[in-house]
């Protein structure tokens, strides 16, 4: 009887999804759906927060006032995205602090791209153009994700990300049209971020274990390889337009398919970085852990004060 009941709930659930009716926090959902979403949303939230660090690294050294302001605004947006996303995960019953502790313990992942260092100002351009570009590619379909709060968060995030992407491309354009030093800086940033950006779409479809189920649940709406191909098709002409060279000797346009064919991704590097061996994994997690530890007394003070205040108000009312 109970068995039957769950089956029925699952059927109704899938029916809603198939009919593009959003799942909302109070609706019944399968545990696996909930868990997958929590994992995916918190991973996304962590990426926003960890993603503040490589860009934060250039705020104090931004080359002029306008770029400094734009970069500050961008990093602030990322923190904001982190907030919405943690909230979205909370609607599924995840505890924000526990989620964050999972990041610090290495249990939870975040986008591996942020384990690469930002070594020049041009990296601010490359990150905006390529990393935010790839993120949007991943996220636009999520605006139609089956889980309501996530889908709505994504609408807002995507709007801001596409703004960031344009800003990044504008930085690259300025550099590519600048002095030889600036152009070299831009090309170097492209060289370093191109392949990691392609890796942002995750393993090839054949290797991707979650894809099928996630597609059925409409948590994911396109496969890794589809999204990666879209990214390449859009980005290569942009690079050409500003006179930069994609660092891939195998890259060529296939006139029959209308797509760019590109070289083999270094999956060994990908997995090494995922496993924690990237250039900055340790620095990134240490920085976040330290922020939490050093901020402990501040959070305690805020809590203690809030309690005192509540008590005083109670006394006043009494």
């Amino acid at each position: 009887m109970k068995e039957n009941n769950i089956e029925e709930l699952e059927r109704q659930f899938q029916e809603k999804i198939d009919n593009d009716i959003k799942i909302e926090p109070r609706d019944w959902m399968p545990d696996a759906y909930r868990d997958t979403l929590i994992r995916q949303i918190s991973q996304h939230a962590h990426s926003e927060i960890v993603g503040m660090l490589p860009e934060g690294n250039w705020i104090t050294r931004a080359p002029n006032l306008r770029r400094k302001a734009v970069l500050l605004a961008k990093v602030q947006d990322e923190a904001g995205h982190g907030l919405y996303l943690y909230s979205a995960a909370e609607t599924l019953g995840a505890d924000r602090e526990e989620t964050i502790d999972d990041l610090h313990s290495g249990k939870a992942k975040y986008s591996s791209i942020f384990n690469y260092p930002t070594l020049s100002w041009a990296d601010m351009g490359a990150i905006g153009w390529l990393v935010d570009g790839a993120a949007i590619m991943n996220q636009v379909p999520l605006c139609r994700c089956s889980y309501g709060p996530y889908a709505r968060a994504m609408v807002r995030v995507c709007k801001e990300e596409s703004f960031h992407q344009r800003q990044g491309f504008e930085i690259m354009t300025t550099l590519a049209n600048g002095t030889p030093e600036q152009k070299a800086m831009a090309q170097d940033a492209l060289n370093r971020f191109w392949w990691p950006a392609l890796m942002m779409f995750g393993p090839n479809d054949a290797e991707s274990k979650h894809t099928e189920q996630s597609m059925r649940w409409k948590i994911k709406r396109q496969t890794n390889d589809e999204l990666r191909q879209q990214f390449v098709d859009i980005t290569v002409p942009q690079a050409e337009m500003i006179g930069l060279t994609i660092p891939d000797a195998d890259l060529k346009f296939n006139t029959e398919t209308g797509h760019y064919e590109f070289g083999e991704i270094n999956w060994d590097e990908f997995w090494q970085v995922v496993k924690g061996n990237g250039p900055c994994n340790k620095d990134r997690v240490d920085a976040r852990r330290k922020a939490k530890e050093n901020g402990m007394w501040v959070r305690e003070a805020a809590a203690a004060y809030a309690e005192k205040r509540a008590n005083r108000n109670k006394e006043k009312r009494a």
Binding site: L53, P63, L83, G178, Y305
Partner: protein, 250 residues
């Protein structure tokens, strides 16, 4: 050019630029995500203020230097910010107390500058006042929370007040530049501004259960370009790109 006006604009602009720089150092390292956002937001406000002020200063100077040249290409002795704003972040208590002591000065200053006979300054003040009020509210609340929070936070907040107090007198520095601009009603007298600052600071520190340091010998120098050893390191970072890649557009 009006040398006094130019000098005064550098003071305003450098205060904003340098406190913005210090706040931005927190980016990604704040004690709570919400506070990371708030500090980055304040940094952004200050960089925005600095930009508008330096743009006007560049116009007043009228030698072809633009706002970026003023922000990034002066030597250390040419910066005019008060010592308070260049003091290191140390911890969140020092950062927030520094912010509070500064905001409590900036708010009445901008209020008064709204009536400047110089319409550009009046416009800048009016535009900046709204965000300044928010900054003051935010930093006051934190000072109260930290002072009246736990024993540990109280101690840290009191240490911050005691350490930074010596730099507050300089907020009210005046010399012939001020006298000349006051005579033209470009800037207000600092006397009522100091009174309001004193009142705000007394009220907030009292509510925060923090004690107000006795007046002692006060540090000054920033307004005449004599800084602490900290500014040199700030400038090494701030100016790096402009110095290493001279004359390029970004």
């Amino acid at each position: 050019m009006n040398k006094n006006l130019f000098e005064y604009l550098l003071r305003l602009g450098d205060d904003s630029l340098i406190i913005g720089h210090r706040l931005s150092e927190w980016c990604g390292h704040g004690p709570i995500l919400e506070e990371d956002i708030a500090m980055t937001n304040m940094a952004l406000d200050f960089i925005g203020q600095a930009t508008t002020i330096f743009e006007y200063a560049a116009k007043v100077e009228n030698t072809g230097r633009d706002a970026d040249a003023l922000a990034f290409l002066r030597y250390e002795r040419e910066y005019r910010n008060v010592l308070l704003v260049e003091q290191p972040n140390e911890d969140f208590a020092v950062t927030m107390v520094r912010q509070f002591l500064f905001d409590a000065f900036r708010k009445p200053l901008y209020e008064a500058l709204q009536n400047s006979s110089d319409t550009q300054i009046a416009a800048i003040a009016e535009k900046s006042l709204k965000e300044t009020k928010y900054h003051l509210k935010h930093s006051s609340e934190w000072v109260i929370r930290l002072g009246d929070g736990t024993e540990e936070s109280h101690e840290k907040a009191q240490y911050a007040v005691d350490t930074l107090w010596r730099y507050t007198d300089e907020l009210f520095f005046e010399n012939e530049v001020d006298a000349a601009l006051q005579a033209e009603n470009v800037i207000p007298s600092l006397i009522p501004i100091r009174e309001e600052w004193q009142k705000t600071v007394t009220d907030v520190l009292t509510e925060a259960t923090l004690s107000i340091p006795q007046n002692g010998w006060k540090q000054q120098g920033g307004r005449t370009g004599l800084h602490s050893e900290h500014l040199g390191y700030i400038l090494a970072e701030l100016q790096y790109m402009q110095r290493a890649y001279p004359g390029m557009k970004w």
